[in-house]
Amino acid sequence: MRFTHVARSSWDIMASVIIHRPPIVAPQMTAIEKRYAAVQSQIEKENSLLNDYEIKSKKDQILLERKAKLEAAGRDLSELEGELEVTNQMREQEWQNKATQLAKRYKFDDAEKIEGDVDEKDEKRLADKELVLVVKQRYGREDGYQSPWQFPEISTRQGEPLRQSAERCVGELLMGDVSIQGNAPISVFTLRYPKPMADAKKKSGSKVFFYNAILGAKTAIKLNTTEFPEYAWVSAEEFVKRVPGTDYRSAVRTSFLQ
């Protein structure tokens, strides 16, 4: 009989945090939504009654016609005095002017804010999309190694619950109000070390447990540039292009709600 020795694999446990910046501005309606909205408002208008504003518009129309007739006939306008004070058309003109003034002042449709490729480190870019924070990490190595683009991770201390490690990870990156969602991780990714590394560390690899976190108001990036030489806020499409590894992307696929 031969007893084969089953090597127990041991793993490094890492906690990783997916920090979301939710969209600031609601996205535009899709094509079908716009068409449907138009059709529905038409139907609603057809089935409705006239309101006071529309009744006044009708009256204004009649009065304007009478005024034109009187002027053509050359008679004075004393009959109409008091009836044709402020027409709805004049009111609408006033409102239009005020709207253009406000738009100029507050710049509601500032395309730069919404679309502009401002700066990847600016958390206010791409206001109508959901962004996540990706970084390059050094893991405390001094040989110039940089991890590929990935979510920030940190190794757990002995006996420390995963959520606490995640909070520690957030603390190293950001200042301010970031809420981690739940005590349980949302997904796991297994990374196998290459043989020399596995022999040196005496572990077959690391298991990375992911947590979702939402960025609150009034937060600021404050990461240690030796540990995190680069960072960026990326949208879902950019994430797919930037972060390598189909298994890694597959493990975190549910962090994007599309």
Partner: protein
């Protein structure tokens, strides 16, 4: 021999002899239907009193029924009195919709329903995948370290109640001085 003895002893227990008074306990009557002293009233007066009480109760029941069973009007959907008076002025001329418009509307409705159903299926798939991945993660954690697993499955009471404000239609303006938001609530209540 033995059964006969127990039979006699059982019979002995049923009789209320002084030696057996331990087994049965009696007490004086503590409740009665007649508590107040009954005065003799004229039966007719008593009858009228009964009838009055009955009528009063019935009236109260009717009032309650009138308010509780009626559906309450929705102010947003009701036509106000002033507008109802000149209703004849407010009727729109009926629109004649051409066949193309009717067809186009039907097609838009179908396409919209298809798009919503597609979104709903995507949402359901997302929920299923999320649950699956989380369960997988927890299973691996359990294998790795049971203590961490125990900590992870604790309910997260600190997170709730959570308020998340949805995105606005236009970008927020910095240092905007918003006007005073005071208002008086004029909703009607029926209680």
């Amino acid at each position: 021999m033995i059964p006969w003895k127990t039979a006699t002893s059982a019979f002995g227990k049923l009789c209320l002899t002084s030696s057996n008074q331990r087994f049965i306990h009696t007490s004086p009557a503590t409740c009665s239907v007649f508590m107040k002293r009954q005065k003799k009233i004229d039966p007719e007066i008593a009858k009228t009193r009964e009838i009055r009480k009955r009528k009063k109760l019935e009236k109260e029941i009717r009032e309650m029924m009138r308010h509780s069973k009626k559906p309450k009007p929705v102010d947003e959907m009701a036509l106000d009195v002033k507008s109802a008076k000149n209703l004849s002025e407010r009727i729109r001329p009926p629109t004649q919709l051409s066949d193309e418009v009717v067809d186009e509307r039907a097609l838009v409705l179908k396409e919209y329903c298809r798009s919503r159903s597609h979104l709903m299926k995507a949402d359901e798939k997302w929920i299923r995948t999320s649950i699956f991945l989380q369960n997988k993660a927890l299973a691996e954690l359990k294998k790795l370290d049971p203590k961490l697993y125990e900590a992870a499955i604790q309910p997260d009471t600190g997170s709730f109640p959570q308020t998340i404000n949805g995105p606005s239609l236009s970008a927020p303006v910095e240092n905007y001085d918003s006007p005073d938001g005071e208002y008086t609530d004029t909703t009607r209540t029926w209680s």
